[in-house]
Symmetry: C2
Subunit: 279 residues, 2 copies
């Protein structure tokens, strides 16, 4: 049985994740599980985990680490009461020696006792906040994929992981930029403030009409391009590292967690008085 | 030659760190290197580093990770142009099998090729911000050590690292609490917002007059105790883990970095347009 996107729009996170676990929903998660933190995924053997974790710590804007599994344990127990990373993502990309081998809907048969799973915050979180503040987002309004560019900004390397920072671009009226900065800065677990706005050549991007990923967005008079660090950065670093085996989510098809988008820390059980407080 | 605290108060960070490197200053760093991020230190063999990094990721309020060295490399190159972690902290505690063995002023003879050094943000950062906002801090005004308590809040374990969260307590007028929360929340790399305020028994603290570390603070009419996650938490977790060898800073004697206290990310070279911006 296959379930449609529309029929899941009002589902609870638990029933949504169960549909994904049963393989009944295998597509993108934008706009699903409203209010909950969604995450990019990277799974690799423990032998590379410390270097990858260093890469995330050194590049927190493209790689905001929101959860790390115990070695060999597929339950992401800080992100939810019952999240099995082998089944609870709609679809997975399997990389062998840095090359995409195939795409699958669960990884039960691939799971290894030495695997470590990493969840990294994604842009859906701050995009929701921008929209709630009335800042128009062209790609969402037109059902397109946000344009992404390989910038000239170097990441800080760690072990085999390195490369240029990938950035996503959103055009907006010039007088809304300061507000967009202020809002997104409140979400360090979802890329934080932009890395740049204005002239794209300042960060090594020569042509806004030719994104490296996603759809080109029209350039309107009085609008300014604003660039955020993008979760494709770690994917590119992983490909370049050429690990014998590495598993990621298929782009757009995220892990939906039990952590509130407004949580100060990425733990669904956080019992501090400020858990879930919106500021 | 020994240099006094007073003579260093107006020193640049570089000359300050050089005095520390030469062993001429071996004491506390509160109030020195104004405007720069200071950090707690933990050094351990790589065999425990992934678990310790998980512990920090899972407990970001007591353990805000601001820097991690490459294995065997004593230069903390993300935190400054020339920071040698073997010499650039005023004094170090050497733990063997979880027990304090001795205190030394450099660790050149102890450094190992498998060592990983971790820098964790500390409370000096948000305390400076609170003082600048006119919120009185009793322990600073009276040259005392902030009172710290072993709370009933459990940390999220990782490998051998676990234990109760240690919290620091600051009394303040009730009408300043909301402002203190708002200010400190802006510094997730320095413990962020408080974990609790008001009744200490809510978090398992029975007697405010008997702190587990530091000096008891007087309780004034109309003042409320506010509790922040404390950097002693990882020290306690490290002691309980009983690692054969682990090195920390001596409490109060911090690493002074080249990263601005207002930096969005802990990298002194960050070239994003929002580096160092104060909000």
């Amino acid at each position: 049985m296959t379930i449609t996107y529309e029929s899941l729009k009002d589902s609870t996170v638990v029933s949504l994740r169960h549909a994904i676990r049963r393989g009944e929903y295998t597509s993108h998660t934008a706009g699903l599980g409203t209010g909950m933190l969604q995450a990019n995924l990277a799974i690799m053997p423990q032998s590379h985990a410390l270097d990858f974790m260093r890469f995330c710590q050194r590049n927190p804007k493209p790689c905001p680490l929101s959860g790390v599994s115990d070695t060999g344990n597929p339950m992401m127990f800080t992100l939810g009461a019952d999240i099995d990373i082998r089944t609870d993502v709609p679809s997975y990309n399997i990389y062998r020696d840095g090359v995409l081998d195939r795409t699958v809907t669960d990884i039960c048969d691939l799971w290894q006792d030495d695997f470590v799973a990493f969840a990294l915050g994604c842009s859906f979180t701050f995009e929701n906040a921008l929209q709630q503040a009335g800042i128009p987002l062209w790609h969402i309004e037109h059902n397109k994929t946000v344009p992404m560019f390989r910038s000239g900004i170097e990441t800080v390397p760690a072990g085999p992981f390195s490369g240029k920072m990938v950035v996503s671009m959103r055009m907006m009226p010039e007088d809304r930029v300061a507000h967009a900065v202020e809002i997104s800065r409140k979400y360090p677990l979802a890329h934080g403030a932009p890395v740049h706005f204005g002239d794209p050549t300042d960060i090594g991007i020569s042509d806004l009409n030719r994104p490296d990923w996603g759809d080109a967005a029209p350039v309107h008079e009085g609008h300014v391009p604003v660039f955020w660090a993008c979760g494709v950065t770690p994917q590119v670093a992983i490909e370049a590292a050429g690990l014998p085996l590495c598993i990621t989510h298929q782009p757009g098809n995220m892990l939906i967690t039990d952590v509130s988008e407004f949580a100060e820390i990425p733990n669904y059980q956080s019992n501090t008085v400020f858990r879930g407080e919106q500021q």
